[in-house]
């Protein structure tokens, strides 16, 4: 009996017992759906963060306190990168030192991040308040769409002015024009100078859920002695290595080696990439365990099926089925179950990724689909062999007499 015929026979046998076939596939379906979903969320997260960092520019460097490598930014406002956990020792003097002495630096900016409560006419909104420099728009490549940013003189005088992210503006002002109005930030009155363009978000992170005030003002507002981190713009992406050297040289004059780290977007990306890849792989590995469980389910059902169909197997042998015919038939039944389970799982996973895509960025990669197909078929073969072998070895005479 040739392969297409055998597949037809196998399909027929599965069709006769649709409910059982479906229940058997369920383990594989759930496993594959989870794997596809997890991989697509993980890949989407990686893509999102990569894009954000690239938006910061390949010419950016970040000076962070302590000896830590990059840690994902905390809190709901989603500052990128987040202020470090280690104690910072950066002062405005460091900023002027860098500006004055480094040759390859285009711009330096202070960056602080604190939680604050914004209030306007009875409405309140709690989110991240970022303290930045007047050159924020160039350093971050994010411009105001309404009103204007604060000026250098406003910065130098630590004026109480604020620029709102779109989400904050919508929440506090609704349809009302925010520019020129006064809000309170942590019980201090601030004037709203402008609204920033939208940057989007990922899951719980909303980039537009932030408020920006001068770093000088933030230091006083939140009673900080030191600046949390410094953002540096190199003249170009090619001069990054030199800039890194210059920053280290200049800062080492007043700080210890283990009190600061200089990171560039490429190395941050590298770390995030590998962390997310590892995380995605680990989660997928866990999901893959359900694939093994599904495979065991297939094996169980095939064993039961073989026992139930003992007389049928005896009959097939009596009319001329060789042991190989029987082995291949039952093996194909197992593979068909796992393959179709994989197919349904992939479709469900893609549908799920699409639905979740409204909240999280998701990317369904072709290789994850190929992997799911391959693994699920393999599961069918591995877990189908034992029952199929058992079936092929049945003695036809005994089998025909089986009750």
């Amino acid at each position: 009996m040739d392969l297409p015929e055998t597949i037809k026979v196998a399909l027929e046998a599965l069709r006769i017992n649709k409910t059982r076939s479906f229940l058997t596939m369920l383990g594989i379906i759930i496993g594959v759906t989870s794997v596809i979903l997890l991989i697509s969320i993980g890949t989407g997260l990686k893509t999102f963060i990569t894009e954000q960092l690239e938006g910061l520019g390949a010419d950016s460097l970040f000076v962070m306190p302590g000896e830590i490598h990059f840690e994902p930014g905390g809190g709901g406002g989603g500052g990128i990168p987040g202020a470090g956990v280690a104690a910072s020792k950066f002062t405005f003097d460091h900023i002027s030192d860098l500006k004055r002495e480094a040759k390859t630096i285009k711009a330096v900016m202070a960056y602080t991040e604190n939680n604050g409560t914004m209030r306007y006419k009875g409405k309140s909104h709690i989110t991240q308040v970022a303290g930045v420099g007047p050159n924020y728009q160039e350093v971050r490549d994010q411009k105001v769409v309404l009103g204007s940013f604060f000026t250098t003189s406003q910065y130098n005088s630590a004026k109480k002015v604020a620029i709102l992210g779109k989400t904050v503006a919508d929440d506090l002002f609704g349809e009302e024009e925010p520019v020129g109005k006064k809000i309170t930030i942590s019980d201090q009155r601030y004037a709203v100078l402008g609204i920033l363009e939208e940057k989007g978000g990922f899951g719980g992170f909303d980039m537009d859920d932030q408020v920006f005030i001068p770093a000088t003002t933030a230091m006083r507002q939140f009673d900080m002695e030191y600046i949390m981190s410094l953002w540096v713009q190199s003249q170009s992406s090619e001069t990054i290595p030199q800039t890194k050297e210059e920053i280290e040289k200049i800062l080492l004059k007043t700080l210890d080696d283990d009190e600061f780290s200089v990171l560039d977007t490429k190395s941050i990306l590298g770390v995030i990439s590998s962390v997310l890849t590892t995380l995605t792989a680990a989660l997928s590995g866990i999901a893959a365990i359900s694939l093994i469980v599904g495979g065991i389910g297939i094996m169980n059902i095939m064993l039961v099926s073989v026992t139930e169909r003992t007389r049928e197997i005896g009959l097939r042998k009596a009319v001329g089925a060789t042991p190989q015919n029987i082995l291949i038939q039952f093996l194909i039944e197992a593979v068909v179950l796992s393959f179709f389970g994989g197919l349904i799982g992939i479709l469900l996973g893609m549908a799920g990724a699409f639905l979740i895509g409204r909240f999280f960025t998701t990317t369904v990669t072709p290789w994850s689909i190929a992997l799911a197909f391959g693994v699920s078929s393999l599961v069918g073969v591995i877990f189908g062999v034992a029952p199929a072998y058992k079936a092929s070895k049945l003695n036809p005479i005994d089998a025909l007499r089986y009750e």
Partner: protein, 221 residues
């Protein structure tokens, strides 16, 4: 000479509790014969049929099938012989449930590598020969006992075998259906088919042209 058993013995469970089902049996069956093998329960008549039909191998002795010694062939080779040369009819019909009569009859052809169209044509033909053209798409549970056995006979015929073995073919049928089945076998024999019926009932054995009596694993007449 179609079929010859030479000093065939069969011992079940040779290592634990040996049962000698057949004791040095000798038997010859010619082409076109209608033979009945008659004996009480436990006489070894079914074992004899299984070996003659290549469903089982003798413990000792030789089975010559169409002049070839098949006594020592492996299961794969025996299966191929069964497929092309032997048709079986069982007491309990042994039709595949939830499968149409037509598909049941087509089953042996599946293992003989025909195209689907060829299989269908041949199957319809033999179903017509047993008078079931009106029932080809019925499931076994929609057919009477006699009709199910007729499907089984059609299935036995479908590969145009050289010999047909029927093991108590009327055992699960009422008298009238049983008679109908035996008449069909008679007709098939008249058309040139070699038929061997295994039975314990003499009124069934009487349909055959030669009766072989067996008791305690040995032929007695």
């Amino acid at each position: 000479m179609l079929l010859q058993l030479i000093n065939v013995s069969k011992i079940y469970r040779p290592n634990t509790q040996p049962i000698q089902a057949l004791k040095k049996v000798n038997l010859k069956i010619k082409k076109g014969e209608f033979v009945a093998i008659m004996g009480p329960s436990g006489s070894g008549k079914s074992t004899l049929m299984h070996i003659a039909g290549c469903l089982d191998v003798p413990t000792s002795g030789k089975l010559i099938f169409e002049r070839i010694d098949v006594s020592k062939l492996d299961e794969s080779a025996l299966a191929k012989i069964r497929n092309k040369k032997v048709g079986f009819v069982f007491q309990t019909f042994n039709l595949l449930p939830r499968t149409t009569a037509l598909e049941n009859v087509m089953l042996p052809l599946l293992y003989a590598e025909h195209s689907y169209k060829q299989m269908k044509t041949i199957a319809l033909k033999v179903l017509k020969a047993v008078g079931l053209s009106e029932r080809v798409y019925h499931f076994p549970n929609q057919l009477s006992g006699g009709e199910q056995q007729r499907v089984a006979i059609a299935r036995a015929l479908v590969t145009n075998p050289t010999i047909i073995f029927a093991d108590e073919p009327t055992g699960n049928l009422d008298t009238k259906s049983g008679e109908e089945i035996m008449k069909i076998l008679e007709k098939l024999n008249k058309e040139g088919n070699t038929i061997v019926v295994v039975t314990h009932e003499s009124h069934i054995a009487k349909f055959a042209k030669r009766i072989i009596k067996i008791r305690d694993g040995a032929i007695i007449s």
